[in-house]
Amino acid sequence: MSRDPNDTDRAAHLRFWRSVEEAQGEVDPSADTIGLPTGRRDFMRLMGASIALAGLAGCSRPPLERIVPFRDGPQQQTYGKPIFYASAIARDGYGAGVLVECNMGRPTKIEGNPLHPASLGATDVFSQAAVLELWDPDRSQTVRAGGAIATWDASIAALQGRLRARPRGAGVRLLTETVTSPSLHAAIRALLGRYPEARWHQWQPVNRDNAYAGARLAYGTPLDTTYRFDRARVILSLDADFLDAMPGCVRYAHDFASTRAAHAPAERRSRLYVVESTPSLTGAAADHRVPLRARDVPAAAQAIAHALGAASDGPATAPVPAEWLQAVVADLSQSRGGCIVIAGERQPPHVHALAHAMNEHLGNVGGTVVHLPAAAAEVVDCTASLRELARDMHAGSVDTLLVLDANPVHTAPADLGFSDALTRVPFKLHLGLYEDETAAASDWHVPAAHALESWGDVVAFDGTCTLQQPCIAPLYGGRTPLELIAVATGDAQADARTLLTRYWSGRQPQDFDAFFDDALRRGVVPGTASAPQRPALRPFDVPPSTTPPGASLELVLTTDPRTGDGRHANNAWLQELPKPLTQLTWDNAALVSPALAQRLGLVNEDVVSLRVADRSLDAPVWITPGMPDGCVSLSLGYGRTRAGTVGSGRGANAYALRTVDAPWFVPGVSLVRTGRRYALASAQTHGRMEGRDIVRMVSVAQAAACTAQACGTPGYRDQRTLYDSPPFGPYAWAMSIDLSSCIGCAACTIACQAENNIPVVGKEEVRRGREMHWIRVDRYHEGSVQNPRTVFQPVPCMQCEHAPCEVVCPVEASVHDAQGINVQVYNRCVGTRFCSNNCPYKVRRFNFLQYSKDVPSLDAQRNPEVSVRMRGVMEKCNYCLQRITTARIAADREGRSLRDGEVVTACQAVCPTRAIVFGNLNDPQSEVNRRKNSPLDYALLAELNTRPRTTYLARVTNERHGA
């Protein structure tokens, strides 16, 4: 007998509860109250149960069993070889396909799924960090009843007892985030069918309310508008950060970059115009950017629409420069059918409607702009939905509330009084990954299964559905929303897989097993992409501009590029990943323009009090070039009180200033100095290039005329040297980074962190300048501080052929291998740090302290192919040597050489824009050679004659003359 003794216990346990409560059909009155039964009758019942349990288990010791090592291991598993599972990870409800690398059953790394339309092989930073979230020791590990440890069965019993007492579901409410999962939606519908008076609310702080309302305004129906940036030649973004913060942004970044790459064909090269209220990646990518207060964006949109002829009346004065306006209008008009006008998620509905009108007017719809039915299973106005729930809770008409995977106590608008209302609900059950703020305010908390532990399904921005499969059994017995809904519906026994197959077999009755296997293997369910729609544009009214007089400040709330709406606050990788525009880590800050800071006498790290009406919030100031004047920007996602050991108590809680009426833009803010200071940790303290040839920029015309002489590219490969070139074998690895493609998203940094077991150092250490990232993304500003051009430059190790680090190492810990890689021998390193001093690129990273902590669950995340470094040892990028070696061994076994593209570094794999190319210089046909033969190719600090193997393609800008 080889049954797991725990199974026996568990089975007995289940039977026990069934026998007492369910089998007799008796409604346990104690289930209404919180906690485990403690009365006399309950005690007798427990005692009886114990005896029954003892009888069932047979004896007190686990049954004798023989332990047999694997003779035939689990299917497909080879020791030391990873297995990749296709799945999907949702961001704000929208899924993106991933491939999860599992080493001996442990998910360790996430790659994008090339077959998935929202990924195409790349991911965003959140997907990369999901694997750390899975292993986060702060995750909720047990069911809790009123704070005390309880069991899943007790929670089921309590919930089912509760529902049985309300046969029509009166007073029962369900709160979820935006649901795109078809199976979950079906289950919720079934639940609502069974309890017709129950109500379902959806709330998500980063929601598409404005986009849907805008589509309703323009078309009368909510739509998800998707864009084909690869087909667009002119793009106008109205405060839309489509490269970093929008459903489908990874795909958009890919498509956009295909028109921006250094060698993009001239006829496809796009020009990007941006107006924006907070500097973003999209603004940094723009050819012509105008910083604008958020409240001025509608007027700008109206002015452009009017000038294009898409709107009948325009504003009295356009808030954008006249020549800029003319340039946009001219460019858009010249690219009819081949341009895009895109409105930001935060902008009010009529800006979306105006964008729709402009796209219709310009003939883009159906070409570059594609309308799809909303991916959300049911479109609701999140804000209205939550307001209704809060109102009912205040009124006392809600007595049972299920909160699935949402954290409304933290994220609800401040004026709803959600926390107070919650205390009026007698029964609150929360399902979540963490024991967060909502869990603390709930009576019951059930740990949720992580996306990598779950069976489920999720829909991408274009409607494509992916089946999620677990890569590991739930670490802490977590449940999926689907399972909990099934329990509420009365089906306590079905597991998530059964529920999922039940749903899909209903939709795919023929040949279901083959369909299911195929969908799992591919990571996409074939034929689920939504069909484009062509609704007719309806006339709509644009509300008159209600811009208050210019003096008062406006607060712009943004989604944090690292912690999102706050759900990633406990993820140390994300916390330490510098925010692209500010390079801040571990905190949010009130971003102000240099001019505003000067006016108010503020310097970085001054704490100000942001006051709106009777609300106020203290936050440190960070002066941000390119912020519009008259604006303060603060990101959501901080100020968590119960995020976990990493995220609790960090930064300022911007939700405190967020209201139902002003979810994103809060007018009438005053900024009051407090006289206090708050230390912020910025990973980069100097943002100017100081006239040095670091990020090389050329115009399209220059690039077209570019020869080696014309561009002044130093022939870094022809420089003289006293030394012989070291002999190399068949491979000479090299990298090329296209600065025209790079958007600065830093996915490379976090992918490298996951791949190479790079430790997190913490805020104080970042402040000291000790962050460990092997590939960093430098950000430079150029031009005026009011509206600078912002450029990004990923900097991994240059793998210099004449490496300055090697000659100064006294113990030969820094050496060259036969493939031209400058490798660091950790075992030999004594930590003189001379190599780092002598590295002109400063890409070496030193373990000043024991950064790699020995936390069992975090150890499980580590890549077994990469050494974990101890304190006192230097480390750095080695072109993912482990990946090269793995591929080379495989090729050697087949008696062939490695093919181009066979080795993909972690940074290259994750890059949405394909900015990074890696390959063999000895292969004349390789992609990397093709790039290096470009006249736009240049080496960083080539004059030092270090002969870097990593080189860059200059950034090609596509400005319009006279704009």
Partner: protein, 452 residues
């Protein structure tokens, strides 16, 4: 003008007979009761030594991250201390070996304690590079030793050269010092009243009996060792400077560094010798041996080396602009206008401006003024090393990597503690060994009339 008269002649020592000299100097070690001031000094320096041990213990337990070093400033206090302490050592060797070869007999009164200063300073210096290692327990990997894996040091690294330079220096310094001590140890043995002291001094005296043969061999060996030590005055700090000029960091990569560092080393060394000599002669009544004439000569040497250092500062700036390298120019501009500009101007003030007072005769003759100037130059030279190391690293090629260094408590504790440990060793030296070479002074007293 009695002192002036007394100072007439090449050897400024007083005309005491050999017996009086021996009585006075040996008496400090054997007979003089311990003064409370000495105990107080011992207590203070012992307290700082304990601080040093705590700082080192914590460093070994936790790692170099307790200091303020960062990326890009991976070297700061430890290496600054290293260069500073090595430099201080140089004056001792210069006085004892260099001046011996040049037959500067006035050196006789000061060479012993200056050599002791060298050894203790180099001991402190030698510790610093070990402490600064990320994994200090593997420091011996820098030395060439037969390893089962056949791994050798990487010979192109100046840090390996350092091992040889510092190793040679400390060995030669100790041997030279000990050789010079032999006749005096024998004297102490003979004069000691207690059995323990007789045995202790006797063992270290290696059976010295003052035979003519002993003296003959001693003189030969001493001269040879002086010949051996003299090039080290030049070579050791030149090698130390290569740790920097070998690197391609702007602000480091300069061919002037070897002479510049040697001049700086002697500068700080003479300053330290003065800082030690002035209280020494006051506290132990040695004004007759270490006269104002001695102090004045050291003051003159300090002025000369100080001018060399000032010249180097000028050349650095000149060559940056003359060379036209944008990074070098940026470093120089940042040095005198950037975040570390207060340090740079403090260096100019301490090392260039204030020491010009040494042109004045009364300053050179005032023990107090020389003591104060010595302290100023010591501070200035420490700051100079700090500036070269830290400011250059903080402001190199890629602006994105620029980052300032801010010291922590442990940085300061290590510096203060090393000064405390140095002082403790020096104070113990004063109590257990003759601070002035009795044998040489006797010889000078004997020879003096002939010189006149």
């Amino acid at each position: 003008m009695a002192p002036e008269a007394a100072l007439a002649g090449d050897a400024p020592g007083p005309r005491y007979s050999g017996a009086v000299i021996t009585d006075r100097i040996a008496g400090i070690v054997l007979a003089r009761p311990t003064h409370w001031g000495f105990l107080a000094g011992l207590g203070v320096s012992a307290a700082f030594t304990v601080l040093f041990l705590v700082a080192v213990g914590y460093l070994f337990a936790v790692g170099v991250g307790i200091w303020g070093i960062d990326q890009p400033v991976a070297w700061a206090f430890a290496i600054t201390n290293f260069v500073w302490w090595v430099g201080i050592g140089h004056a001792g060797t210069f006085i004892s070996a260099f001046l011996l070869l040049l037959r500067q007999h006035w050196r006789t009164s000061i060479n012993r304690f200056a050599e002791a200063m060298t050894i203790f300073a180099v001991a402190m210096a030698g510790l610093m590079p070990i402490l600064h290692l990320g994994r200090p327990w593997f420091f011996y990997w820098l030395a060439p030793y037969p390893d089962v894996m056949n791994v050798w040091p990487q010979w192109r690294s100046p840090l390996v050269w350092d091992i040889f330079a510092i190793g040679t220096y400390i060995i030669v310094s100790i041997v030279f010092w000990y050789m010079g001590l032999l006749p005096d140890l024998a004297t102490l043995r003979d004069r000691a009243r207690t059995r323990g002291k007789q045995i202790a001094y006797g063992v270290f005296a290696l059976g010295w009996r003052g035979e003519a043969r002993h003296w003959h061999r001693y003189e030969t060996a001493y001269l040879l060792l002086a010949g051996l030590a003299t090039p080290l005055v030049i070579s050791v700090h030149s090698v130390v400077s290569l740790d920097f000029s070998f690197g391609l960091v702007p602000g480091w990569h300069s061919t002037i560094f070897p002479p510049y560092f040697v001049a700086g080393a002697l500068y700080s060394g003479f300053a330290m010798a003065l800082v030690l000599a002035v209280p020494l002669r006051a506290a132990f009544g040695l004004r007759d041996f270490i006269t104002e004439r001695h102090l004045a000569k050291m003051g003159t040497l300090m002025l000369v080396t100080g001018l060399l250092v000032a010249y180097s500062y000028g050349v650095e700036v000149f060559s940056a602009y003359f060379g036209g390298d944008a990074h070098e120019i940026a470093i120089m501009e940042d040095r005198y206008t950037g975040a570390y500009a207060p340090v740079a101007w403090a260096v100019i003030l301490c090392n260039v401006v204030i020491p010009q007072a040494l042109w004045l005769g009364w300053v050179r003759r005032s023990a107090l003024a020389l003591f104060a100037l010595g302290l100023v130059v010591l501070v200035g030279m420490w700051l100079e090393r700090f500036l070269i190391i830290v400011q250059s690293l903080a402001h190199d090629f890629l602006p994105s990597s620029w980052h300032l260094f801010v010291p922590t408590f442990w940085d300061l504790a290590t510096l203060a503690g090393s000064i405390g440990a140095f002082a403790l060793m020096f104070l113990l030296f004063l109590r257990f060994l003759p601070a002035i070479s009795m044998a040489e002074l006797r010889k000078e007293a004997h020879h003096e009339p002939m010189h006149q």
